[in-house]
């Protein structure tokens, strides 16, 4: 019973796939987006179970996965559009919109909470004026929540543009993100 729901390829996805394939809506990819998608499919499409690998390559290249890429990837990998959309939206890491100039990830997990993580989280939202998975109005910073960076002995932990920081107090957060009160 559950297996029936689980295996999207046997469901209505196949119908969606055949009706969407080749439809004009796919052409809304910008040229650089199309190049990234085509390159990802070309490099990794042959691997067994390639969808996550392909999506990673697209996000690595663009910083996000443009929704019009979904039918393109589905067609190239012989999957339904529903399957690709389902995977993109299942995983927290995949974004469908461009991120800000900087990406700030704040750890919300217990080990960081034990060292002031909850206060840091509240400070980050308040200082940037956004919630998680939102970007400041000036496009400067995207704030994201993460659930453990594996840096659990020296929290609270924050990763900014890939670089991890330990012992992040609210003051250090402001300094690291360039958002001191005097800005």
């Amino acid at each position: 019973m559950l297996a029936f729901f689980h295996d999207g390829r046997l469901g209505p996805g196949g119908v969606v796939f055949s009706s969407i394939h080749g439809s004009p809506s796919v052409s809304s990819l910008e040229a650089r987006e199309r190049a990234a998608v085509e390159s990802a499919v070309q490099r990794f499409g042959h691997e067994p179970g390639p969808l996550l690998v392909v999506l990673h390559a697209v996000q690595d290249a663009l910083g996000y996965i443009p929704p019009p890429a979904v039918p393109e990837i589905a067609a190239a990998l012989n999957l339904s559009r529903a399957e690709v959309h389902g995977v993109v939206t299942f995983y927290h890491y995949f974004r469908t919109v461009p991120h800000g100039r900087r990406v700030v990830q704040v750890c919300r997990a217990e080990a960081c909470q034990a060292r002031g993580g909850a206060a840091l989280e509240a400070h980050a939202r308040q200082r940037l004026g956004v919630g998680f998975d939102e970007t400041t109005a000036d496009g400067a910073v995207t704030l994201e929540a993460v659930y453990c960076l594996g840096n659990c002995a020296t929290g609270p932990s924050v990763r900014i543009d890939g670089r991890m920081h330990s012992h992040v107090t609210p003051e250090r957060f402001d300094a690291l993100t360039g958002r001191q009160r005097s800005q």
């Binding site: 890491y93 960076l149 840096n151 659990c152 002995a153 670089r163 991890m164 330990s166």
Partner: protein, 511 residues
């Protein structure tokens, strides 16, 4: 001749400025030093910990900031000279000296990218032994060692391997679960960053044991340094003939690839991980069939945690009897404990099972970082129970923890001081479950969100007696009715918080 200086590139060390220290050393000491980037020794309060090779062994300095480097050099760093940051011979540190490092023996010591360094420090001896054994003999050695899965479920590794060995299939797989999502755990990360060839060796032995020719390491995307380190090690092992079409000229193939997760805690559950490896949503599979019978792409598959696989080489090298001499009862061997949260000396402590929680928190951890009394620890990640100070004398082994309603899990220990609000932590347990639920089964998907509501209502004083009963029934429903451990265990921290800290659940004003 240039003096060899070791600077970690472990993710925690990097977060504390290790790259800047290495750059300062290169700038100020120039050609007089050979800088080797290593993993971390797991004494994180000393990071960045710089070690200098001297005739008397490796001498440590830490925590070093880039700005300290000129003064350190002036004080004779390269000869092991005196300075306020000098901690003396690293191996003599009490924190390290009392440990029983079987799997972490080389972490922080060797260059993780070098096969030559790995072999020079005793690496690949287990594989050499395995190449001379039959598959059944390898499986028997692992079974006899008593090794149980270190990812948290503690299932006997040898039995899993035997099941895969016994299947007839054209293709079998070895998969490594490196989706170390539990808060308070970093052993997999440290091992992959500090001694990735040990994992490669363990997986190669697993492939020989069950007749699998392809392995995958499924590593979480939150660990970019570990991903790089493992990929580098795989390429090095391949170039040196330890992976590929003919492992060490044996004529037996084993290939290894890395797959990267995408921020889903549930993918640490083994069947979700397999779904994700196949390129799908990480939704739990109904068992049976077991992955050992029908796993990756429907084929017989070993799914083991990083530390389980990294424990295999020493078992093959020194024998099952050597390994099972460590530990107590049915918890045999060693366990890398991860000291996290509010502790003065957080880090990695590998000891035989049976060390007490108090010994770990006080003798190693040095008590709280804040200086306040420790009130509770959460053991085994976000699904693990909270243990009150009155139970700190419990030995850390699977059975002793089960007896107090707790679990060891992957060995993460998160300490909280007396400012912790246990109702808030219980609420967070449900919130986390709601965020990370794969959505396949109702008790987990709906129960977790309802749990948050019920705790909010309880704390708001809306019919507290009723909410309390609802909460208990909800926990019971999730434990009994969920498909996998996420929904099935998320109530454990809640129930333990209610049991040990009922005073924190008294109705209060709006929070």
């Amino acid at each position: 001749m240039a003096t060899r200086v070791y600077v970690p590139k472990d993710a925690t060390a990097l977060s504390l400025g290790a790259d800047e220290v290495a750059a300062a050393l290169a700038a100020h000491a120039g050609g007089t030093v050979e800088i080797v980037r290593t993993g971390s020794r797991g004494m994180f309060w000393l990071e960045p910990l710089v070690e200098v090779a001297t005739p008397a062994g490796r001498v440590g300095y830490g925590p070093v900031a880039a700005a300290d480097v000129p003064a350190l050099l002036a004080a004779g760093l390269l000869e092991g000279g005196t300075h306020r940051l000098r901690i003396g011979p690293v191996e003599e540190q009490p924190y390290l000296k009392g440990q029983q490092r079987l799997t972490f023996a080389r972490v922080g010591v060797v260059d993780p990218a070098s096969v030559a360094d790995y072999v020079a420090h005793g690496g690949y001896r287990g594989l050499e032994r395995a190449l001379a054994m039959s598959p059944a003999e390898i499986v028997k050695a692992v079974t006899d060692s008593g090794l149980r899965g270190r990812g948290g479920a503690a299932f006997p590794t040898g039995i899993k391997w035997k099941t895969v060995l016994d299947q007839a299939a054209a293709q079998k797989y070895v998969t490594c679960n490196a989706d170390e999502g539990d808060s308070g755990t970093f052993a997999d990360r440290m091992l992959m960053e500090g001694d990735p060839l040990l994992l490669v060796e363990g997986m190669t032995i697993a492939g020989l044991a069950v007749g699998a020719t392809q392995g995958y390491i499924y590593c979480r995307v939150e660990y970019p340094e570990a991903i790089d380190s493992v990929r580098t090690a795989i390429a090095a092992a391949h170039a040196a003939g330890y992976l590929g079409a003919s492992v060490r000229g044996s004529g037996r193939r084993f290939d290894l690839g890395v797959r990267v997760g995408a921020g889903a805690y549930i993918c640490g559950e083994e069947t979700s991980m397999l779904e994700s490896l196949e390129g799908r949503r990480g939704e739990v599979r109904v068992r049976p069939p077991l992955p050992a019978i029908k796993g990756l792409f429907g084929q017989p598959t070993i799914v083991n945690n990083v530390i389980s696989l990294a424990s295999v080489p020493v078992i093959l090298e020194r024998g099952a009897d050597y390994y099972k001499n460590f530990g107590v009862g049915r918890s045999l061997g060693t366990i890398p404990l991860q000291l996290a949260g509010n502790l003065k000396r957080g880090g990695l402590v590998e000891r035989a099972f049976g060390v007490t929680l108090r010994e770990v928190l006080e003798d190693y951890g040095g008590g709280s970082a804040s200086g306040r009394p420790l009130r509770a620890v959460q053991i085994g990640g976000p699904l693990g129970a909270y243990v009150p100070a009155s139970q700190f004398d419990t030995p850390l082994d699977y059975e002793s923890l089960a007896a107090i309603g707790a679990m060891l899990g992957h060995g993460g220990i998160v300490a909280f001081d007396d400012t912790v609000d246990m109702a808030r932590m219980a609420r967070y347990a449900f919130e986390f479950c709601a965020i990370e639920s794969c959505g396949k089964c109702t008790p987990c998907r709906i129960g977790s969100s309802r749990g948050v509501n019920v705790i909010d209502n309880l704390l708001a004083g809306q019919q507290p007696a009723l909410q309390r009963r609802l909460l208990e029934e909800l926990c019971e429903t999730m434990v009994q009715g969920s498909l996998c451990g996420l929904g099935g265990m998320a109530p454990f921290p809640v129930q333990s918080a209610l049991r040990h800290f009922p005073e924190d659940f008294a109705p209060r004003g709006r929070h």
